[in-house]
């Protein structure tokens, strides 16, 4: 588990090169505006925490970054190691993005084993017309990292919610991502698994030099695991360090009014 001093050490590790620049982004569904005027830079190597009440646009922000929902206005740009300005589609040709969506309602009988699901994470790398090898080391690595190796032959629909969540994290890891976007990875999980997954994310961040964008409601997780926090309610309400005492007041305002 992370202590206060550790938080301080890894918040200083944050480099100052932005990896993603979001400029005046607006997302509207039909007529309702889900995100208004978002300006946000994501830096390499940080764990950016995003919090906000239900319907505040957290998932929408992740999807906008991933290019899954179109922007009505503004731009989102990625920067590769040569500081070249790229769109999401251009960026992910050479760099992989890991995405762990918020909900998976997996059909109990869907014909996929745990290893098949993780193999899907390899598709971007191996490309069209090729098969994923049974012995692909990335799959084994990813499954071992999340502690699901021994479940690799189980049907995905037969796992518990927490186990499925771990498989989804393994799938995004198998892609060898540069940036990971996790949408409430611990929602609906029990306390023990919740901690285990957060520790896993922390450990991945430390060992693999990942940049992580993490949506979570939990104040304690924001404090312990993130290096920077954004509070969202259609637009950005507050940005700052997780240790800032103002965070608590902002959260109280957002959630208890």
């Amino acid at each position: 588990m992370t202590t206060k001093t550790e938080v301080d050490t890894f918040s200083t590790r944050r480099s100052l090169t932005p990896l993603i620049c979001i400029n005046n982004a607006v997302v509207a569904y039909q007529n309702a505006v889900a995100l208004a005027n978002i300006n946000l830079d994501v830096y390499e190597g940080e764990i950016l925490g995003i919090c906000g009440p239900n319907g505040s646009g957290k998932s929408t922000l992740l999807k906008a970054i991933l290019g899954l929902v179109p922007l009505s206005h503004g731009t989102i740009r990625f920067y590769d190691k040569d500081q070249q300005e790229l769109t999401c589609v251009e960026y992910r040709q050479d760099n992989n993005l890991g995405y762990v969506p918020q909900v998976h309602n997996i059909d109990r009988n869907f014909p996929a084993l745990v290893e098949d699901v993780v193999a899907m994470g390899r598709y971007a790398q191996i490309g069209f017309l090729k098969r994923v090898k049974k012995s692909d080391p990335y799959i084994e690595n990813a499954l071992r990292l999340v502690g699901m190796w021994k479940f690799r032959k189980r049907p995905i629909g037969h796992l518990s919610g927490g186990q499925q969540q771990k498989v989804m994290i393994a799938r995004s890891l198998a892609n060898d991502p540069k940036i990971m976007l996790l949408d409430e990875p611990t929602a609906a999980l029990d306390f023990r698994i919740e901690r285990a997954i957060m520790d896993l994310i922390h450990q991945l961040h430390q060992n693999q030099n990942l940049t992580i964008i993490l949506v979570t409601h939990r104040m304690s997780f924001l404090r312990e695991y993130t290096t920077r926090v954004v509070c969202l309610d259609k637009s950005i309400i507050w940005k700052g360090e997780p240790s800032d005492p103002k965070l608590q007041t902002i959260i109280n305002q957002l959630f208890f009014q």
Binding site: H104, P111, M120, P155
Partner: protein, 349 residues
Amino acid sequence: MNPFFMEITFNPNAFWKYLQYPFMQKALIAAILIGIICALIGTFVLLRGMVFLGEAIAHSAFAGAALAILLGLDPLLVIMLFSVISSISIGYVNEKKMMKDEIIIGVIFSFFMALAILFISLMPVYSTDVPSILFGNILIISPNTFNLLIFFSFLIIIVIFVIKKELYFMTFDEESAKVSGIPVRLLTYIFLVLVSMTISVSLKAIGAILVFAMIVTPAAAAYQLTFRFNRLLLLAGFFGVFSTVGGLYLSVAFDLPSGSTIVTLITFIFLISFIISPKRRLAHLAHLPTECPYCGEVIDEGSCEDPDCPQSDTPHSHVAHDDHRRGDVVIDKRKLPGKTPSTHEHKGP
């Protein structure tokens, strides 16, 4: 003899006797191809939850056939045009999320049915081609239709195997597939066109009313039996071919209509799979397959790793450790459902 019923005679050698003639050889080849393509496409249709889309396409294809008969054109191309139009328009409405897909499918489905009836009523003389399209007859496939069937079957099989991996990912999780750079939109439309082609080329043999069963049922039967995707495709293909060829044999031997014999046979296979399905046997047990149904403790090592094992919920071991064949399952009788054991242990592999 009852004068109102035809006498049913069983002539087991008829099929073999006719097999020396080209019409029966063609019928056999058509049966095999249709069995394969319907099962392959059907597996994806089933997994993508688009079962009623298939129904709508089949009816629009019927309208296309009626128009072709009315105008004296080659049916297959008009059929294909109609079914592609209907599937693409349903796919478009679905993509833009303009309304629930069941609504648009319902609207299109009944519109094409109305068109079909309209076209039929415009025919100066009632054509015998109409019932042959409705009910199908695998024994009277025109040479042109047969050649197109062969061409499109190979096209469908090749395209499906080229995009199989990507389609599978999309079916499981569309958004993540997009993030992986899979052209989800393009593949969705390609798939819709493949469904239309499959239904169109099978229409003459199975009939507009029943062709849909050949899409759904082999895949549904295979779906009962396995958790492995490749095995699912293989089993569905096997069931498809078994029922089309078996149905052809029976329809010749008993002198019955081919379409309905084939569909009856595949439905029978589905019933058997449903009854012996290991999936449903798991379903009534504990909510987690890894949980012991008695003590609730999670069994990590003791339960079977074979996803198709019919006993994987119940603590058990296999006779040979590495051998997960079904026949080798050993279950402690005391731990079977219905009997509450006082003590039990989790056997390690």
